[in-house]
């Protein structure tokens, strides 16, 4: 009996060290177990708050924490690797945003155009069937250059170029130009998005002061921005026109001060004819579009001819138009009545 009493007393003392688990409150607390939050809306005891603040608040905090943990223990427990674990539910309190709402990025020039026209992106596969090589060729990435090299093992020099031009070099040059242009446009889009002002010609001003060339370029461009393209703008006595890439196009109407000697009529005529020859030689002799159009035209004429042959007696015969005109209101007369070689007399079999 004594031993039992002793054990009970020992237990009693132990439990006296700790404060009770159950806590009495006037109002129930609100719990948000997902974020381990307990909200106590009970009034504070002003008297005890004034007299011994710290101990009162400590006792209050301990009671509330006890209640929160009681609630946590009520949830189903699990055992993962010798640790008792409780899965918390989803938090119910809505926390405010840490960062401001993201502003939608302004569309690039192409995106705006595509939106206006209703153009959608078409997904392209990596491999594309190439008719010439008769195999699947990657459009980008691994083995793309090898396939392209195989395809362009030979590049013909077209008629209107110097026969000694290196076509591979030319192709590489064009590609690098395209890449540079793309980069420039990307930077312009970026500048437009960030609302950074960029000059029309030349590099933008990086330091706080513009250089002399930048200033002279800006002045020249501004001067030429009148209706008469700067012809009647005053100029300082020693002011020089800006020179640089792209400035020349914005200042049109640059006239040469030196007067060319007036040529004699014969010399002028010769000069004009030479110049004309030069221009005409630069035009392509075999105009692809024209050739295609011509072949299409011939096919159509043949088809219409066959159609007419199938329907006899339809359509009146009107007089043929002058020259090569297609008269939309007349029928084409039948061809093939002439002889192939009128002077040929032999009618024998062709000897092979």
């Amino acid at each position: 009996m004594d031993i039992v009493n002793e054990i009970l007393e020992r237990e009693q003392k132990k439990s006296d060290k700790y404060k009770p688990i159950t806590v009495e409150k006037h109002l129930e607390l609100e719990f948000d177990l997902g974020s381990l939050l307990a909200s106590d809306t009970n009034d504070l005891d002003i008297k005890t708050l004034k007299t011994n603040k710290d101990s009162y608040l400590l006792a209050l905090t301990r009671d509330n924490a006890q209640l929160l943990l009681n609630k946590v223990w009520e949830l189903p427990t699990e055992r993962i690797e010798e640790a008792i674990v409780v899965r918390l539910p989803q938090p119910t309190t809505i926390l405010p945003r840490a960062k401001p709402v993201p502003v939608p990025k302004p569309l690039t020039k192409w995106q705006e155009f595509a939106k206006a026209k209703g153009i959608n992106k078409k997904k392209k596969d990596k491999l594309q069937w190439d008719e010439q090589l008769q195999k699947w060729v990657p459009l980008y990435g691994f083995k793309k250059t090898a396939a392209e090299k195989e395809k362009n093992w030979l590049i013909e020099v077209p008629q209107n170029l110097d026969p000694m031009t290196d076509m591979y070099e030319k192709k590489a040059g064009e590609k690098s130009e395209k890449v540079a242009k793309n980069e420039l446009q990307r930077l312009k889009n970026l500048a437009r998005a960030k609302k950074v002002k960029i000059p029309r010609v030349g590099l933008p001003v990086t330091s706080d002061k513009a250089s002399a060339t930048q200033l002279s370029t800006a002045a020249s461009v501004a001067k030429a921005s009148t209706a008469s393209l700067g012809k009647f703008q005053d100029k300082l006595p020693k002011e020089k026109e800006a020179r640089g890439k792209g400035v020349h196009e914005l200042i049109p109407g640059k006239e040469r001060k030196r007067k060319a000697p007036i040529p004699t009529p014969a010399a002028e005529k010769e000069y004009n004819l030479n110049l004309l020859d030069n221009i005409l030689s630069k035009r392509p002799k075999i105009d692809m579009d024209k050739a295609v159009a011509k072949s299409i035209n011939e096919e159509e004429v043949k088809r219409s001819h066959e159609k007419k042959n199938m329907k006899p007696g339809l359509g009146k015969r009107k007089t043929q138009g002058k020259g090569n005109a297609t008269n939309f209101s007349a029928k084409k007369p039948k061809a093939g009545k002439g002889k192939r070689a009128p002077n040929k007399k032999s009618t024998g079999r062709k000897r092979r």
Partner: protein
């Protein structure tokens, strides 16, 4: 009257070849004397040598124009062909478009030619080729740019434009103060 610079002569000839093609040679090299191009105040004039000699006797400030004005150079150095060049261009044009009498008035008011107004068109006209517009009785009334090839014209619907208006004879009345 100034001689055209090389740049400008090139631009002029290129524009002319768009309408007449190879026959520009016949404009310079004529049987009845050499003709040349002179420039005054950005306007290009087509004059014979004899007339040019006579024109040079006049003080340059007092001379308004000499010969026929073919067109003018714009501020950005592009050449615009005026209707005043029609008499010289129409005989040499390889590609012509004939217009029905019902659509003539529309063209003369400055509108484009639509398929329903098209009478005839020369065979194998390439796309965007400079053409001379004529009435059905072969009187030139202006020039334009073909918007479709002859084959495409056949399949176009009746309200589609087939010739873009460039210049017409009605401009003599509409823009008489700017033509010289």
């Amino acid at each position: 009257m100034k001689v055209l610079s090389e740049d400008r002569t090139r631009i002029l000839f290129e524009k002319l070849t768009k309408y007449i093609g190879v026959n520009v040679k016949l404009l310079i090299d004529r049987p009845d004397g050499t003709y040349c191009f002179r420039e005054k105040k950005d306007r290009v004039y087509y004059i014979s040598e004899k007339l040019l000699h006579l024109a040079q006797t006049v003080k340059p400030d007092n001379l308004v124009s000499a010969g026929t004005c073919f067109g003018k150079f714009t501020k950005t150095n592009k050449f615009r062909l005026h209707i005043t060049a029609l008499t010289y261009i129409s005989p040499y044009a390889p590609f012509k478009v004939w217009v029905k009498p019902s659509a003539e008035q529309q063209f003369l008011y400055g509108h484009h030619i639509i398929k329903s107004g098209l009478g005839r068109i020369t065979e194998n006209t390439p796309k965007h080729q400079g053409v001379v517009v004529l009435t059905m009785s072969d009187i030139p009334i202006g020039f334009g740019v073909a918007s479709r090839t002859t084959a495409e014209c056949r399949h176009a619907d009746p309200l589609a434009t087939i010739v873009f208006h460039q210049a017409d004879v009605g401009e003599y009345i509409r823009s008489e103060d700017t033509l010289t």
